[in-house]
């Protein structure tokens, strides 16, 4: 199975070889979708593939080492009330998580494709997109 997670690190946790451990000790395929680090810690978006037990084990390992783990669905949220379905976000979303249905004119947000890059946040005129990480 596959799952996407958002990791947040304290500065201490940033110094550990966590991706290596996920691969070597928990037998997971790790696809780094996004990673950044600054003085207050780090943030990483990973796609983990492997057996369900291994994924669970990997996530437990991360949590035990002070890494915040959240499902990607909690990464970016759309306020459906605020969205006007203009589609401004559609051409800038690098993973095509935001698409417009040409029949209905409605913009849909596919959270499974979102990597929480945040490019859409300041491009949205009614400010309907919110990044939570």
């Amino acid at each position: 199975m596959k799952t996407k997670v958002v990791l947040t690190f304290s500065p201490e946790a940033s110094n550990q070889p966590i991706t290596h451990n996920l691969i070597a000790k928990h037998h997971l395929l790790v696809n780094i979708l996004r990673a950044e680090i600054d003085e207050v810690g780090g943030k990483m978006v990973l796609e983990l593939s492997g057996k369900a037990d291994d994924i669970r084990g990997g996530i437990d390992y991360l949590k035990a080492n002070g890494v915040g783990v959240r499902p990607i669905k909690e990464g970016v949220r759309r306020d459906d009330e605020a969205c006007t379905h203009c589609g401004m976000c559609v051409s800038i979303c690098p993973t095509k998580a935001l698409t417009i249905d040409l029949k209905t004119g409605k913009v849909s947000f596919n959270e499974d494709k979102c990597v929480a890059c945040g490019v859409c946040i300041d491009a949205c005129p009614p400010r309907a997109m919110e990044i939570l990480i």
């Binding site: 589609g87 401004m88 559609v90 051409s91 800038i92 209905t104 300041d122 005129p125 009614p126």
Partner: protein
Amino acid sequence: MTASEFKEYVKANGIKKAAKEVDVVTTGTFGAMCSSGAYINFGHADPPIKMQKIWLDGVPAQAGLAAVDGYIGATALDDTNNVMHGGAHVIEDLVRGKAVRLRATGYGTDCYPRKEIDTYISLRTVNQAVLMNVRNAYQNYAVATNSTAKTLYTYMGKLLPEFGNATFSSAGELSPLMNDPYYRTIGIGTRIFLGGTQGYVMWEGTQFNPGAPRTPNGVPKRPAGTLAVIGDLKQMNPEFLKGLTFTRYGSSLGIGIGVPIPILDEDMARYCAVTNSDILAAVFDYGQPTRSRPVLREVSYAELRSGEINIKGKQVPTSSLSSMYKARQVSEVLKSWILKGEFTIQEPVQSFPKDRPLKTLDVRTEREAV
């Protein structure tokens, strides 16, 4: 029927039958319309004040009328240039029924001795609150892209580097003036859908440019006609009036506008049968910060709506600034009003000028200006 339905009807039944069977076509658009604002009469305080400076939730409103009339523009910003809360957002807050802080100062006169006031108003407490927009519903607009190496933040939205995307702004075949390209049925006094209620066309819009180049079927290929519109803010609906923010540009007002077009004859039926494939717009490089940018190419709205256009050999993803979904909603609501007899078609009391050159602003001497 709505403009979308009419185009389908013409495809199936031809122009002749459509002209005979259909009375009215309802158009619609919902987009960022910067040249918008509202005038408000706040009522007189005791002791009274002649307002010289006015702020609504910190956003400056125009005074300089009589004592308690003010005009708040959609793009007005507070002292910190907070683009997240400009005049457009204040107008939306009012329409949502919220209270807005009014601060005003004056110099004090014998008849208006008060020099300042700090209070709250809402649409319930004021006398008139009227949306009065001097340029809305552009008949066609530009397509924006960016050739430079850095992201640009413009009134056409976020433009990614190296032709990373392209944005456009017209509702295309649904847009009011696209369906009446020579302004035969739309003029001063036309009753319209404005922000969720009934409003009126009050004049040609500013920068009205009927002489823009057109395709053989009359559809302008560049920004052409515009509408100045007016309507009662107290009756408007936040579904169709929304404060917008364009990062590092400013605020703007998203408004739904719909115009009913009577099918007077076969010519009108032909105009209203226009589809996105027939409407062309020019692609401009907003990386060039000048008044006259070169045209990179012309594209049809059908191509723009497909999600990708080709610019200089590159497939470039496209985005619309105006909402197709809301534009359709506008045309459907307007149609339902007409069917229920709540909205009657108003013939214009005067047509727009056929000829109006578009002027530019140049630095000139007093003598050259006369």
